[in-house]
């Protein structure tokens, strides 16, 4: 995935840095049911389809100081309002572990996760395994979101650079990126979600 260098990043959903974009269609699948962390989750979702978000349309740009990622997707009509829509991208802090493992002790992943609803906002999360996610470092994360019917657009930004627990980002280098999305209208939350199966290359232009 290319991360084009632009002159300036604004927290906008359209126009500006997104003009003439080079979107990537990221295929998503449901997380494996046997890997859910509790017997209750496995049993209660055994007969219920999840991972309804099949594709994320992703754009990424940076201006030498900040990264902006725009994520767009559609969901089927909601069956509940109990859970919020959510989307996240993950970056490796050091080495990469299989994305499906949500990081490992020696290979944590740094996640920026946006969710809508009553507690709307973007959180920085550090994960070292399934069910282990905890507060992550402050990387100046911000988000802007819009819902048009069943279609969502979310922009998440953070500063480049590195720090304790933060996934390092530097212009002119390549790192990895992975994605997850939750269809809250289908009661998707926690490990019940869509994910991008494997890491993708994120090439930050010099």
């Amino acid at each position: 995935m290319k991360c084009k260098r632009v002159s300036r990043i604004d927290l906008v959903l359209e126009g500006g840095q997104w003009s003439g974009g080079d979107s990537t269609q990221v295929e998503m699948i449901a997380t494996p049911l046997p890997m859910q962390p509790t017997g209750y989750v496995i049993k209660s979702w055994a007969e219920k389809p999840y991972g309804t978000i099949k594709t994320l349309t992703v754009d990424a740009v940076h201006d030498g100081h900040a990264l902006a990622v725009r994520l767009q997707w559609e969901v089927p009509p909601a069956t509940t309002t109990d859970f919020p829509p959510a989307v996240a991208f993950a970056l490796p802090v050091k080495a990469t572990s299989p994305l499906v493992l949500m990081g490992m002790a020696e290979a944590p992943m740094h996640i920026l996760r946006w969710q809508g609803g009553a507690q709307a906002g973007v959180r920085s999360v550090l994960a070292k395994g399934i069910g282990s996610s905890n507060h992550g470092p402050d990387v100046g994360q911000k988000a802007l979101a819009r819902q048009d019917g069943n279609r969502f657009s979310v922009v998440i930004t953070r500063v480049l650079g590195s720090g304790a627990g933060a996934a390092p980002l530097k212009a002119g280098t390549t790192t990895k990126i992975g994605f997850a999305a939750w269809d809250g209208g289908n009661e998707e939350r926690a490990g019940i979600k869509s994910f991008s199966v494997d890491w993708l290359d994120l090439v930050l232009a010099a």
């Binding site: 859910q36 962390p37 509790t38 017997g39 209750y40 989750v41 049993k43 209660s44 109990d82 859970f83 009553a118 507690q119 399934i130 069910g131 996610s133 939350r189 926690a190 490990g191």
Partner: protein
């Protein structure tokens, strides 16, 4: 596995449905943002829908050791307390304005079927069933949580939700077969009865138990042979868990209710209890038959002036002994500050 287990016993023969326990709990713990609908302690009329409405049909718990899918009760299921037009009715000065719920049809409140009960006259019957989190030995909520945000305290087996770890996934609500977990929509976290652990930590019994005018609640450790809990649960075996078939091994126990005799066509007592035994069996399991028989025997001994330790305990002649080691006065606590780590 906890080293010890605190437990509560409630003698249903003494509950008068006054809701003092409910108010004591509400006043102490659930007056903050997002907690309006929360009643960690409830008292409902049996037979009845309970709170949340029809909770016994909402699933969860374990069958043959396997977790069972359950319904996730919402605010509407718990029943919203009604707000009334007090200002207009009492101070508005408009003739014809009567006291009424605000917002038109208010829906079912949390205790909407109070005193309805079952049966037909003259053998209609009901009894009150106070409920709180059962602080189970095998907590379905704890096992369901993908974030391990629910803990069972090693020192006393109290089950607590760590609010810093909870992300509001609400699997615990689905998994709890007793439906005693609430969701705080304002904070995005699940909350429930904490068994007044900050009081217990300082030797003071739970607010619901301490405030009970009927003196029907007992608190203590299951393994304390001198305490009321051990005697009622193990020595005499008269305290039974609610719905043991749910498989979570609750640590709140009930002394099942005796009831007056049914009547024949001439109005004479038949000797058969008004509360159907099969109904009580559906709540407390097959042991309820022998428990009721023992209670009748011990009551008779007491009537004859014979010594009955069991009746002495249940009558609560020495009320403070209801609380085992938690017999300090609440005034002995300078300041309760809840810190859940």
């Amino acid at each position: 596995m906890s080293k010890r287990q605190v437990a509560m016993v409630m003698d249903l023969n003494k509950c008068i449905g006054c809701q003092t326990c409910t108010v004591a709990c509400k006043t102490l713990w659930t007056r903050n943002e997002g907690q309006k609908h929360m009643l960690w302690n409830t008292v409902n009329t049996q037979p009845g829908q309970g709170t949340p409405h029809n909770w016994e049909k909402m699933g969860g718990g374990f069958r043959n050791g396997e977790p069972q899918p359950g319904h996730r009760p919402g605010v509407g299921d718990f029943g919203k307390a009604w707000d009334f037009n007090y200002k207009e009715a009492f101070h508005g000065g408009e003739p014809g304005v009567r006291l009424a719920p605000l917002g038109g049809e208010p829906g079912q409140g949390p205790n909407h079927d109070e005193d309805v009960g079952g049966g037909t006259y003259p053998d209609n019957y009901f009894f009150y069933l106070p409920r709180l989190c059962n602080h189970c030995t095998h907590p379905a909520c704890l096992e369901a949580c993908p974030r391990k945000a629910i803990e069972k305290r090693e020192e006393d087996g109290i089950v607590l939700i760590n609010e810093d770890h909870c992300r509001g996934f609400r699997f615990c609500q689905e998994a709890c077969p007793y439906k005693k977990i609430y969701f705080n929509e304002a904070r995005g976290i699940s909350q429930k009865c904490i068994f007044c652990f900050p009081r217990l930590d300082q030797g003071v019994a739970n607010a619901c138990a301490r405030q009970c005018p009927g003196r029907l609640r007992f608190v203590g450790y299951l393994d304390d042979p001198d305490g009321p809990i051990h005697k009622l649960v193990h020595k005499y075996g008269v305290a039974l868990p609610l719905h043991p078939e749910y498989g979570t091994e609750p640590n709140v126990y009930y002394v099942p209710p005796l009831s007056p005799s049914k009547h024949d066509a001439d109005g004479k007592p038949t000797g058969e209890m008004q509360i159907p035994l099969d109904y009580l069996e559906s709540l407390f399991g097959k042991k309820v038959h022998q428990v009721l028989a023992l209670l009748i025997d011990e009551r008779e001994k007491n009537r004859k002036g014979e010594k009955s330790e069991l009746m002495d305990i249940l009558i609560a002649r020495e009320w403070i002994k209801n609380f085992g080691p938690f017999d300090k006065h609440p005034r002995s606590i300078e300041n309760i500050k809840v810190v859940v780590k």
